[in-house]
Amino acid sequence: MAETPPVIESLPLPKDGRTSHAPSAMPAATTATALAAHPSQRPAWQAWLGTLHEHPLLRPVLALVILLLVDLVFLPDFWQVQIRDGHLYGPLIDILNRAAPLMLASLGMSLVIATRGIDVSVGAVVAMSATVAALMVNAGQPLLVAYLAALGVAVLCGAWNGVLVAGLKLQPIIATLILMVAGRGLAQLMADGQIITVYQSSFFVLGSGYLLGLPVSLWVVLAVALATTQLLRRTALGLFIQAVGLNPVASRLAGLRTATLIFGCYVFAGVCAGAAGLMIASNIKSADANNAGLLLELDAILAVTLGGASLAGGKYHLAGSLVGALIIQTLTTTIYSLGVPPEVNMVVKALVVFLLCILQSSEWRAMLRRWRQRPAAPRGDRS
């Protein structure tokens, strides 16, 4: 229950802020309304509960917490975190490390989905960037050069998708499908159909190394997430992306460079996928063009949906996507640790997606409303 203490501490903050502000700073005319609004705020925990209830992160975090509690009940060892070889060690840390590539990919996917798009080429980009990096390292190039080359290929892939979607205005699914089909073929072509094993130990740091007791990959994800959040919040970029997703035509008429924005989102998704590919290759110490990142795009889409974003575009929630990725990895690890056949994983995932989509849909809410009203209506008619 790591979530509760900070939340409780922050509880009095909004109340203090409002009561101290309202009488002094506001002019006389508005104090009346402020006072009128004041009694309704009296049970502050209720107002706070209300805002919490509407917070987009609530449901994904709650799902993750429930999942972790289930683990606590059924797997006593699950929450054990030890210090081994100078770094933290335990199933929780393992989840963080394994979820890192998915978290990165879902960061990129969040922005693409926010522009009403979708990128199904993530897995192919992972395969390509992993192959390029492994080939370069094996060819004796410095690690930095290899990484830059791999990310360069990922940028090219993202730009290709971006040109097709933003420039040629192809449907995003089909535009990225092209790279999904051809990209894996190109990766196999580069690798000559072989699994490229890497022996240079510095290559393994990204995927299985530790920094300050935590996995290096987690730090990378945090850095990318923080930088992206700051970029989107501090500038108008986040607003623009949402505007494009909500109504592409209106935002173009309002003077936004929609094509450039959409292009940028696909490039960002490509870079994220490329970095995820580096992590995966580093973790398994080889590049497998055939299987690296297979179906990663689907997991990334699932993570974004779990995080509370709508596939209809116009909404993104980077932290939500990260939590969504953690939910998926926790689910996978739980299923493995419980001794349930791992095949159940896919069925569970599918049912979760169905449930989430139904719960998110406005039709479901309308149905609920009708159900609530139905018992009331006949009573009114009869009496």
Binding site: R116, I118, L164, G167, L168, K169, L170, Q171, P172, I173, I174, A175, L177, I178, L179, M180, V181, A182, G183, R184, G185, L186, Q188, L189, D192, G193, P248, V249, A259, L298, I301, T305, L311, A312, P341, E343, V344, N345, M346, V347, V348, K349, A350, L351, V353, F354, C357, I358, S361, S362, E363, W364
Partner: protein, 387 residues
């Protein structure tokens, strides 16, 4: 793509390049009111020579109209298929044998069946990503019922077909009732179906049932060679599909739905029922493809036909069906599947090319066809942004 607005300052003398791009962006059904079909001529000369221009100016207009006609990419596919076959026949010995062509049908029978179902879904403006997984599930269920439960073969086939159709109808119901995106629903359906395969059996189950073995070994003689029963079933289904799409009221409803869902609703068409039936038909086709795949491989396995949904979509797109829905021919499924099959056969005949070239070439073809559809076709011009 810098589509600049026509500036009001120079209406009489459009620059040659400007006029050309504007004409290429939209077809000109009636050449008379367009500002200047002849880029080099001035406006006075156009007025004077309007009468004399008509006979000679018609030819480029006709050519343009043909280029912009939505059927253009479907026709191009047939040409491409013939060119590929001719090139293969000239380059490789034994390629032009009739049996090689019949093998195309035998090897791709399951893909043709998938593509027929997929065509209808795409025509209705949707997409079905679950077909490959439903195919695998059908093979697994069939193998399990035959080997473990010892059901008779006809009962197994009926059960598989009914199950696949129900799976599709359920997906259609989710899409229609909750207004979910077909993409995400069928994606989850794909996970579900593959997961169910592994729940039934992690390993491949060999089918040793007499009927299945008999069907798989049967050869139906034709002039020049033989075909498998699967190929005959696939071609039969294609005929049924053509009838459904182009001759039945249901087919017209599908086209209307793909053209514009709101309009279809306002016309009083049964949109909900049509959607359920479209996805149900796709599920039926996927399970039928599963049976054909079962005859072909004589095994049931959760890893069967991985990525088959992508091949089916590629075949449908290459066959000239618009991804935005509402335009295309059911017969395009056949030409699309045959093009994909021919590419694979060519690569197999060459022997020096590795299998991954298939993926690259299919990707490149998909790209070319999407771009051609996008640049030349009218229906996509407005529908591209609104997905």
């Amino acid at each position: 793509m810098s589509a600049s607005f026509p500036s009001p300052a120079s209406p009489a003398t459009p620059s040659p390049g400007d006029g050309a791009t504007r004409r290429s962006l939209r077809p000109v059904p009636n050449p008379a009111p367009s500002p200047s079909p002849m880029p080099s001529s001035s406006s006075a000369a156009v007025d004077a020579g309007a009468a004399s221009r008509t006979p000679s100016g018609n030819r480029p207009a006709l050519l343009l109209r043909w280029l912009h006609h939505p059927a253009f990419s479907a026709q191009m596919t047939v040409v491409l298929l013939l060119v590929l076959l001719a090139a293969g026949g000239l380059r490789y010995d034994g390629f032009a044998a009739p049996q090689v062509l019949l093998n195309l049908l035998i090897d791709n029978a399951y893909l043709l069946v998938l593509a027929v179902g997929m065509s209808l879904v795409i025509l209705s403006g949707g997409i079905d990503l679950s077909v490959g997984a439903v195919l695998a599930l059908s093979t697994t269920v069939a193998a399990w019922l035959l080997q473990q439960a010892h059901w008779p073969a006809p009962a197994v086939m009926a059960a598989v077909l009914v199950g696949g159709s129900l799976f599709g109808v359920l997906q259609g119901a989710l899409i229609h009732v909750f207004r979910l995106q077909p993409f995400i629903v069928t994606l989850a359906g794909m996970f579900l179906a593959r997961g169910l395969c592994y729940l039934i059996s992690v390993d491949s189950i060999t089918i040793s049932d007499e009927t299945f073995v008999h069907i798989s070994q049967m050869q139906i003689p034709l002039p020049g060679g033989f075909v498998s029963p699967g190929a005959v079933i696939a071609v039969g289904l294609l005929a049924v599909g053509i009838w459904i799409a182009h001759r039945s009221g249901f087919g017209r409803a599908v086209y209307a739905l793909g053209g514009n869902e709101s309009s279809a609703l306002m016309m009083g068409l049964p949109v909900g029922r049509t959607k359920l039936m479209v996805y149900g038909f796709s599920g039926f086709c996927a399970s039928l493809a599963g049976l054909l795949f079962g005859f072909y491989m004589l095994s049931g396995y959760g890893l069967h036909a991985q990525g088959a949904e992508l091949d089916a979509i590629a075949a449908v797109v290459i066959g000239g069906t618009m991804l935005s829905g509402g335009y295309g021919y059911m017969a395009g499924a056949l030409s699309g599947v045959l093009v994909l099959g021919t590419i694979q056969t060519l690569i197999a005949f060459d022997g020096t090319l590795s299998s991954w070239w298939t993926k690259i070439v299919i990707g490149a073809l998909l790209f070319v066809f999407c771009v051609v559809q996008r640049l030349l076709s009218r229906p996509l011009a407005g529908a591209g942004a609104a997905q």
